[in-house]
């Protein structure tokens, strides 16, 4: 396949360079080391727990701590460079210490969801060949099952209030232990278990490492698991160069609006690639501050963080923005310091985007990316007017094409599968040549997303290829109907799937959640009437199910696959 012309370059204007400059650092370790020296006097991370207690780490402290953690991994645990180290922590001060330590040790970071069950942990750790694990102490009870069934040789424990000032740390821990009973005893394990403070103490006594200088952009940095929404989890191999390139791309499109005075709200989990690159790495490299919220659910948990820190940026997914605006304290007093919000992870509904602008007076810029591309592929430039429903234009140094089933380009304006090529594209899936071959062809990533490109290169995602519903031979894209439902005030959120139908092959079913702040009741009739008004007849849901909540992924994506599974079970029974 040939490189396509890049019709979107015109939209870059004078502000955005068409290509990113050569990488300034050879590895993430070098970037981290450089930032820790350059911004030595500034605060890098502040973690705020729901009751308002908080702790912070400065750049220089973080530099020293991550050095010590690296020494601990290499000299004490005797891990060789390239060894996989899993970090399974909620957002907190221990996360950057551990993750940056792993980079400086020349090891490979395996980001792991703290809420994984032992079964999922065992699968992931064995798949990645993890030899050391940094895990949150509130999940230590899982270790009893997990450790003996894996190759893990070292376990490090870190708490949610880790590195807080002594008294708040002791209080939060006491509350966890006595009140919420969320601090289980550490089981007896066949491998050594240390708390992270002790690991750092030991690391401090060992020689400081500098062989991260030998890391090159092509070296593996991250095994980032994905496919939670599709099937069996598999790891995208992201190199130092992938992430560094993506950071340059983010900087090229948004850098003029970001300064080291900025403060970004990091409520999305750092183990997910979106927050990892957009929050952790982007703002850290800039010398700015990340405000870490360990869990954004319930949304109330974010209140004190927003109250106590001058947040200028928020990254989020549709459900988070929607959730925030449904909180009275947020809608009435949105943060005054806010400059803009970045949306990604899943389609941003226009109803939400418009309301956000009304409520906060700032805009949400929607981007698009995937784990396989570290993650950013396209972005709405902040200097231009927002184009509703668009994921913007591809970032610099990136080629994008829309192709049909035979991988041939479709005419402009026609829907086709989005494929991407650029320096941010992964090396492949870890130990899965078949999956790699399917997804990565001649340097292009096949995203599985169907998109349309406007004349000037702006992209719109139509839907996931496999979520499409076929009604009497017509393609119905669930996103379009969900989007339509988001404009109905009585609907808090909605999900649309296809169900078997004897007459039309498949029919549309909508799952809707009542908005508690609106007195109008959401009814089947109201939903159908609203859709009749705005959609072609074949797109109108035939079935409407009212729910209290919708199944969601850890980052807040609505999981259509769970609803589909439910529906399958339901119709299997009937059939």
């Amino acid at each position: 396949m040939n490189a396509q012309a890049r019709p979107w370059i015109a939209a870059y204007g004078a502000e955005i360079p068409p290509e990113i400059p050569p990488l300034r650092h050879a590895s993430l370790a070098a970037l981290v080391d450089n930032a820790c020296t350059t911004y030595a006097g500034s605060t890098a991370f502040t973690c705020v727990v729901p009751n308002g207690m908080n702790g912070s780490l400065g750049f220089s402290a973080l530099g020293q701590m991550s050095d010590r953690f690296a020494s601990f991994l290499r000299h004490h645990c005797k891990l060789a460079p390239g060894t996989r180290v899993a970090v399974q922590l909620p957002n907190g001060l221990a996360y950057p210490v551990a993750a940056f330590g792993v980079f400086k040790a020349g090891c490979v970071l395996v980001n792991t969801n703290p809420l994984y069950t032992p079964r999922e942990m065992i699968h992931q750790f064995n798949d990645a060949g993890v030899e050391a694990l940094v895990i949150c102490d509130i999940f230590a009870d899982k270790l009893r099952t997990v450790v003996p069934q894996t190759r893990i040789r070292h376990v490090v424990l870190a708490g949610v209030p880790e590195f807080f000032p002594r008294i708040p740390e002791a209080i939060v821990r006491a509350v966890q232990k006595v009140w919420t009973r969320s601090l289980p005893p550490v089981p007896d394990l066949p491998v050594p278990v240390l708390r992270i403070r002790e690991a750092l103490r030991r690391g401090a006594a060992l020689p400081k490492l500098d062989d991260w200088n030998r890391l090159r952009p092509g070296d593996l940095a991250l095994l980032q698991y994905t496919g939670g929404t599709t099937g069996v989890a598999k790891a995208a191999m992201l190199t130092h160069g992938n992430i560094l390139s993506n950071l340059e791309q983010v900087k090229a499109v948004g850098g003029r609006h970001m300064t080291r005075e900025d403060c970004v709200l990091t409520a999305l989990p750092l183990y997910h690639i979106f927050a990892f690159t957009a929050n952790l790495m982007t703002f850290f490299a800039l010398g700015a501050r990340n405000v870490l919220v360990p869990s954004p659910r319930p949304v109330q948990n974010i209140q004190r963080a927003l109250e106590n820190t001058p947040v200028t940026w928020i990254t989020g997914v549709n459900t988070l923005f929607n959730g925030l605006m449904n909180e009275e304290w947020f809608a009435t007093y949105p943060p005054k310091t806010l400059k803009a919000a970045i949306a990604g992870g899943t389609a941003l509904h226009q109803g939400v985007a418009i309301r956000w602008q009304e409520v906060t007076g700032t805009r949400i810029s929607e981007g698009y990316g995937l784990t396989e591309t570290a993650p950013l592929v396209s972005f709405n430039p902040l200097d231009r007017a927002t184009r509703p429903g668009s994921i913007g234009v591809p970032v610099p140094s990136t080629d994008v094409a829309l192709v049909d089933e035979d991988a041939e380009p479709v005419p402009l304006g026609e829907p086709g599968e989005l494929i991407v090529r650029g320096p941010q594209v992964m090396r492949g899936y870890w130990n899965r040549p078949d999956e790699t071959e399917q997804t990565l062809r001649n340097g292009w990533v096949f995203t599985g997303d169907v998109a349309v490109m406007d004349d000037d290169g702006y992209l719109r995602i139509v839907d996931r290829k496999k979520d499409m519903v076929l009604v009497s031979g017509f393609n119905v894209y669930p996103n379009e109907i969900e989007e339509c439902l988001s404009h109905l005030p009585s609907v808090l959120e909605a999900a649309v799937i296809g169900i078997p139908d004897t007459a039309t092959g498949e029919a549309v079913r909508a799952y809707v959640v009542q908005n508690p702040d609106v007195s109008d009741l959401v009814t089947k009739e109201a939903v159908i009437a609203h859709c009749r008004e705005h959609l072609a007849a074949y797109k109108v849901p035939k079935s409407v199910v009212l729910r209290d909540a919708l199944p969601k992924s850890p980052i807040g994506k609505i999981l259509r696959k769970d609803l589909k599974a439910e529906a399958r079970a339901e119709f299997a029974q009937e059939g």
Binding site: V48, M53, F164, I171, W329
Partner: protein, 300 residues
């Protein structure tokens, strides 16, 4: 009676509780709650109209002696206790409403309690030697607002300190009741044994009736069941230790003995009755939730 040391200690504990109450909120929370003031207004109605009336009717109806009449009316007029927030939490109630009701009623109390005491005291014909000087009450309540403001300020200044005193404050709410019982009951067990059943009835009844009427007043004014349960607990749970403090600061040692009886017994029994009511409310809340879920299924 309480010794002077104990009275001072009680005063300090109340200050800590109010400091914690202040640290549990921001000026913004106030402004927010006054944008939709209905819940709080309903709460004020049941706390400062229904409850004092209940206290008066019970006192007169049971023919209590003057010292006990004063104690009962005083308890009935008190603002909401800070422990009510813990009970609201466990009953799956509306925590924000509970916190705001406690705070607003404490502020309103500065003016309302002296007025209500004078009014019902006069109506019940309480002799002058048992009358609580209104200025005294206003002064004590006013002084207690200082730590509340201080708590709010501290939270703004340093969230870690704010959250710490908030926790200490709610912990102290339980400590102070244990302190009262431990320091008063052993010295007065003879009095407890001699106390007539109808006095116990009044003491336990005022809390339970407050909760009952609080619930129905709220329901009558179109509050949903969940908010009504929160208002109910808030109405029934009064600031008993505050009543004890008012009495010890207003009466000589000899008079204290008799007047203190009802507030102290109340503080003891309200913990027990609120626990039982909370368990019941919690079950109702869970049932309602399940019923809602069931109604929603099959709507396809």
């Amino acid at each position: 009676m309480l010794t002077e040391l104990e009275t001072n200690l009680l005063g300090v504990m109340m200050m800590v509780i109010m400091l914690g109450m202040g640290a549990s909120m921001t000026p913004r929370d106030f402004r927010l709650s006054f944008r939709k003031p209905k819940g709080i207004l309903v709460g004020l109605l049941s706390q400062f109209v229904v409850m004092p009336l209940l206290g008066f009717l019970l006192a007169v109806g049971l023919g209590l002696p003057p010292a006990l009449v004063v104690g009962l009316i005083l308890i009935a007029c008190m603002p909401g206790g800070t422990t009510s927030n813990i009970f609201a939490y466990f009953s799956k109630g509306v925590l924000a409403l509970s916190i705001m009701m406690t705070t607003v009623s404490t502020i309103v109390a500065v003016a309302m309690v002296p007025l209500l005491l004078a009014f019902y005291g006069g109506l019940a014909g309480v002799p002058a030697e048992f009358a609580i000087p209104p200025g005294n009450v206003a002064q004590i309540l006013g002084v207690l607002l200082v730590p509340t403001l201080l708590g709010m300020g501290l939270r703004k200044l340093n969230p870690n300190i704010g959250a710490t005193i908030e926790l200490i404050g709610s912990f102290m709410g339980v400590v102070v009741i244990i302190f009262l019982i431990a320091s008063w009951v052993p010295r007065n067990y003879v009095l407890l044994l001699e106390t007539a059943p109808h006095v116990y009835f009044a003491t336990i009844g005022i809390g339970l009736m407050g909760m009952l009427f609080g619930y129905w007043v709220a329901r009558a004014l179109a509050q949903d069941t969940n908010r009504a349960r929160t208002i109910s607990l808030e109405t029934g749970i009064q600031n008993g230790p505050l009543a004890v403090l008012v009495i010890t600061l207003s009466f000589s040692a000899a008079q204290q003995q008799a007047v203190l009886l009802i507030p102290i017994l109340y503080s003891l029994f309200i913990v027990i009755s609120s626990t039982l009511i909370t368990l019941w409310y919690r079950r109702s809340a869970t049932h309602e939730q399940l019923a809602r879920d069931a109604a929603k299924l099959g709507a396809g």
